[in-house]
Symmetry: C2
């Protein structure tokens, strides 16, 4: 295992100083008035010696790692893995690399992942913050490391964020059902303090209220993350048989998948007997008797925006705090 070639090796080979090699290989030959001849020789030698810069050394000197830390709830969740993919692409395009960690929606784990990645000299973070993580994020912000929240956000915490208008999307989804004539519309949501989930509840409730429905929350059901399957089963059963709803709004991908299974499990036809709208796209929708309407989040745009905002701040091109609120659209087949 031979040592990798360094700047100095190149410098020695052609008899110039390391400074010149550094300037040339970093494209700063013009501004440092390196002669074209020397520059050419350097580039040639670099190629011949198969030079790969040592980024640890560069990092140490410049205090920049060109690495973004991405923390999501779970990289194996399709929403987040798709987000990760667009973030990867955008980061690579800017010559940044992505290092990731999953918080499992758990504040403790989140803190550990954050600490771990902080050690790694990341230049900035893109974070989908879990419940109860306000303090941690607030501290992170105070440490002045660039930071963009994605998907989730906090009130009264001035940070960059890229989110979707969950309220409006839920409002639209519910309105769609109302417009089809439904009056008894169930809504299944996460029992969570995360604001973006609350926005979904509120959008649903507001649509019902504006339609003049009294006790708008009487068919709103909250389920827990940990006991999702059993709770959804119970709630779907109650909504259908006790509450006699004619439609249900499922406020997340996971809830929809389980909810749809249960509706069929209870022998009800979708959409004829129970009409349905879901948040997020899912392949399974194509395996129902009829494809159902769903809310599509602009995942690509979210990832791209987050990376752009972050890199602008890392490179100090734009330090203004940005809050991008993107639109999620209801897709009706």
């Amino acid at each position: 295992m031979t040592r990798k070639t360094s700047l100095k090796d190149i410098a020695n080979k052609i008899g110039v100083s390391a400074s010149l090699v550094s300037y040339v290989l970093n494209g700063k030959d013009k501004e440092n008035r390196v002669s074209e001849e020397t520059a050419t020789k350097i580039r040639k030698a670099a190629k011949e010696l198969n030079y790969i810069p040592n980024l640890s050394a560069r990092s140490l000197k410049t205090n920049k790692s060109h690495t973004i830390g991405l923390i999501v709830a779970d990289i194996s969740n399709p929403f987040f893995s798709n987000l990760a993919r667009t973030i990867e692409d955008e980061a690579y395009a800017h010559n940044y690399t992505v290092i990731f960690g999953s918080s499992d929606e758990n504040e403790d784990k989140f803190k550990r992942v954050l600490d771990f990645l902080s050690t790694r000299q990341v230049d900035g973070f893109i974070i989908a913050s879990p419940e109860e993580s306000r303090e941690t994020v607030s501290k992170l912000k105070e440490s002045n490391i660039p930071l963009v929240l994605i998907d989730r956000y906090f009130n009264d915490l001035e940070t960059n964020s890229v989110t979707v208008d969950n309220f409006q999307a839920s409002f639209d989804a519910t309105t769609y059902l109302l417009n089809k004539g439904h009056q008894r519309i169930g809504g299944i949501m996460y029992d969570s303090t995360l604001l973006h989930y609350q926005d979904r509840s509120n959008g649903y409730l507001e649509a019902l209220k504006q339609a003049g429905i009294v006790d708008a929350d009487k068919f709103l059901r909250k389920v827990n993350h940990q006991s999702l399957q059993s709770e959804i089963k119970t709630e779907v059963q109650k909504l259908i048989f006790d509450d006699q709803v004619t439609a249900i709004y499922f406020s997340t991908n996971t809830i929809a998948t389980e909810g749809l299974r249960q509706i069929r499990n209870f022998g009800k036809k979708i959409p004829d007997e129970i009409d349905v709208v879901a948040f997020d796209e899912n392949v399974i929708y194509q395996f129902l008797e009829e494809p159902i309407p769903f809310i599509r989040q602009p995942i690509k745009e979210m990832g791209q925006e987050a990376v752009r905002i972050l890199i602008d701040q890392i490179e100090q091109k734009d330090l203004e705090i940005k809050n991008r609120l993107l639109k999620a659209s209801l897709e009706i087949n």
Copy 2:
């Protein structure tokens, strides 16, 4: 933005040398006979000053980054995102961090990602190599950086690998259909030079041959990655209506999803009119009239093994080349 505290800050604060601080904070105080008293003072000061080691500096010195480069076909593909998750967990458990890139099954992109990550001082790679990448992987191997292939492999290229017995799994799946009395069994595969896909074809063919079926390959269909949807539609149609098959084996997740859609699209009942087995698990199977049998890959084990082998080699604990062939089991509900 104040400068982060360094080893020297701690050393100065309590009036010792940086060496001692380094020893203590790296848990080498015993072996370097640092006095318990000094050690305690150092640990206390480190905590007070909120010391975070600069890993770039450490990397530069030790030539180790404690970072693993993961290259898959596409991080947003469920198989790979699940794999990524187990790799993340196992890496974190060993104090390693994961940096990733997607090759899009494209050799050029693969090379670019590899070059890009190589620059980042990764200690080793876990790679799901795309078609035509033999040369690139071979060169990488010669550069002596630790490397584990996952999911895919090459003949006559001695590298660590963690793969699944695709031949046996396909054989089992096909045998399952044969045992149910099917004689005309279609098989839809990728048209690919990747060996693990060919193993799947071969397992299917071998099962048919052993069952005494002549022209075993007459219902074997190969489809292209890029025009998957239309080709599968055509092939499913031909298999059902021209070839009168009574069962189909779908050799990947993606092929199965589209294939199942098409069977239903052509009005055939699963499994009564067309029986089916698929490679890989998928939520959609629960949305069919009856859940179908499928081959489950031991994703967690694959990820864990790959990380363990890699780290053993990085840390030179075990330099022997390892080829782990794991079993994928047929799940029948």
